[in-house]
């Protein structure tokens, strides 16, 4: 029978649920992100501070070890909210470095090679595409942020000679929530900027610049105009202020630099909205043909 006798008809077999298709993109994105040796190197670097923190917790809870160190006072090796805030801060900066390396790998090539129309011709929406990329980033960044933080919390709960975990549950919840906010922010930032920059080489630098330069500009605004509102441009500081509150450490904040929770949440929401708009503008099934 010749081929023209066949009629085309819709596929009638079992269709995969829509929500699982996102994970297909996520899986391939993860493979792409981890295909570089530098990702592995960066990931290993990200795990060094938690190992140091683990050792500190061990020392703090081991009387023999403390005796060997000259019986340092409990304040020197205090395992409290401030300790976990420091761990979270360090891990968040490292997560940003990891995101600035991975995010351009996930999205730039699709755009530069005009692969987006082909990808979006599959039964997946633009939202699903971005979500799939976010899944890959979320999975990778989680391993360096809230996962080690909560493991350290669990170890402190286990190693402490007195009941500790239940009394400090707020720290764990705060670290988890704070990490989720940060991961969401830097994932959207990374994907949005990567979608606007043609070169992957440049995208990594621009992601860092987009965090550090507004922070510097915010500091200038604060100093020149003698106002604390310039600090709202400093996204790491805004996130840090939120973490302080989530971990119950807001009493330690300098009154002059204390930002209201409403302003913090508004800035974070505004930044996320901006990144979503940027993504919406660029993630479209169109082909750029240069003559």
């Amino acid at each position: 029978m010749s081929i023209h006798k066949h009629d085309y008809r819709a596929y009638t077999g079992r269709v995969t649920p829509v929500w699982t298709r996102i994970f297909v993109l996520g899986r391939y994105s993860l493979a792409e992100a981890w295909s570089s040796k530098f990702t592995t190197v960066l990931f290993v670097v990200c795990l060094i501070p938690p190992i140091g923190a683990l050792f500190t917790i061990y020392l703090a809870n081991n009387p023999a070890a403390r005796l060997l160190m000259g019986n340092v006072g409990p304040r020197v090796l205090a395992i409290d909210g401030a300790f976990f805030l420091n761990v979270l801060t360090i891990q968040s900066w490292l997560a940003m470095a990891l995101a600035s390396w991975i995010a351009p790998r996930l999205i730039t090539l699709d755009l530069v090679d005009n692969a987006l129309p082909i990808l979006l011709s599959h039964p997946i929406s633009r939202f699903g595409y971005v979500l799939g990329k976010c899944v890959a980033l979320f999975a990778t960044l989680s391993i360096v942020t809230w996962v080690p933080c909560l493991l350290l919390f669990a170890y402190q709960g286990y190693a402490s000679p007195v009941p500790w975990a239940a009394a400090n549950l707020r720290i764990a919840v705060g670290m988890f929530a704070g990490s989720l906010v940060w991961i969401g922010l830097i994932s959207l930032l990374g994907l949005a900027l990567s979608s606007w920059v043609k070169w992957r080489v440049v995208a990594t630098g621009i992601i860092f610049a987009a965090i550090l330069v507004p922070a510097g500009v915010g500091a200038i605004v604060s100093e020149v105009l003698r106002t604390k509102w310039g600090l709202l441009l400093n996204l790491p500081l805004v996130a840090f202020s939120l973490w302080q509150r989530l971990l119950g450490l807001h009493d330690h904040v300098d009154e002059l630099k204390k930002l209201p929770v409403g302003a913090i949440l508004a800035v974070l929401a505004l930044a996320c909205c901006l990144f979503v708009v940027m993504l919406n503008k660029r993630i479209r099934a169109r082909e750029v043909v240069r003559g």
Binding site: F38, A97, S100, W101, W199, R200, V201, V202, T204, G205, F208, A209, L212, V213, G216, V217, A219, I220, V221, E223, V224, L225, R226
Partner: protein, 288 residues
């Protein structure tokens, strides 16, 4: 024998086609300069350079300027130069400008046109460096001068007196020198990084981290940093505050001339190595 060899080398040196190289360098510099200053891609460098100017302008319009805020404004200006321009503005500006000169052309697949033309590679590299430096210096020095002028303009006679009869003009000269050296120093480093690495950004960010932690390193390691030389040239001290101040290693004071020469030496060494690298530079567009 030694004298003969020396004379021979001098004769070879004089017989090089210097006029041709100068002409080629001039043309290449003009092309790159136009591309760095007058393309829409360069707008973000204008933003980096002139955003403090805009903020100071708003300060002029909306804030009062009495004698009590004079010293504060001097400190703020020093902070803008040392902490914003050197650490962020010039750093990221030069990263963008100088990474594009070689690596950008490789990505755009246009570098081979230069390499196939009868131009010595060293001339090509140094012309590109000169163009990048000129663009960065022009933008950031202009911004610094305008910032300085706007900062003292609202103080009227007191401001004029401070600038022309006091230490003001000397401070401006020091700031301009610092910005010029920062552009040259960062430029040389980023030009080399863009030739050595396929993606120079991680290297540049490591360099940024190195520059940031440099004040707490031993004095011998502080010499391998651009910012440490520039710190010695600062006319107004903007000391570290808080925890960082405890960790800061105070090195012996270095004279302005020694710091300038030290940094110029570092730039020359980096450029010489870049010239050596570009002689063996190969392009494989399939792997870019």
């Amino acid at each position: 024998m030694m004298q003969q060899a020396g004379a021979g080398r001098r004769r070879d040196f004089m017989q090089q086609p210097w006029a041709l190289w100068r002409l080629q360098a001039k043309r290449l510099t003009q092309i790159e300069l136009r591309r760095n200053l007058f393309s829409w891609r360069a707008t973000w460098i204008y933003f980096l350079a002139f955003i403090p100017t805009l903020i100071i302008f708003i300060h002029i319009l909306f804030n009062e300027h009495d004698a009590s805020s004079f010293n504060d404004d001097t400190q703020v200006l020093a902070g803008i130069i040392q902490l914003y321009y050197i650490r962020l503005g010039v750093f990221f500006g030069c990263l963008g400008i100088f990474s594009r000169l070689i690596r950008g052309e490789m990505i755009e697949r246009s570098l081979h046109f230069y390499l196939l033309s009868p131009v010595r590679r060293e001339v090509l590299l140094l012309s590109k460096f000169a163009a990048g430096s000129a663009a960065a210096v022009l933008l950031f020095v202009t911004a610094t001068i305008v910032d300085f002028a706007l900062m003292y303009l609202p103080f009227g006679a007191a401001g004029r007196d401070y600038v022309f009869n006091g230490p003001g003009l000397g401070q401006l000269e020091a700031y301009v020198l610092i910005i010029v050296l920062a552009c040259l120093g960062y430029g040389a480093v980023f030009l080399l990084l863009s030739m050595v690495f396929k993606n120079p950004t991680p290297g540049a960010l490591l360099f940024l981290g190195w520059e940031a932690i440099n004040p707490v390193l031993p004095s011998i390691l502080q010499r391998l940093s651009v910012a440490s030389y520039l710190r010695h040239l600062m006319p107004v001290d903007v000391g570290a505050k808080g925890f960082i101040a405890l960790l800061t290693v105070e090195t012996e004071p270095v004279s302005g001339l020694a710091a300038t020469l030290g940094l110029l030496l570092l730039i020359t060494a980096v450029l010489l190595y870049s010239c050596y690298r570009i002689r063996t530079l190969e392009i494989r567009y399939t792997t870019e």
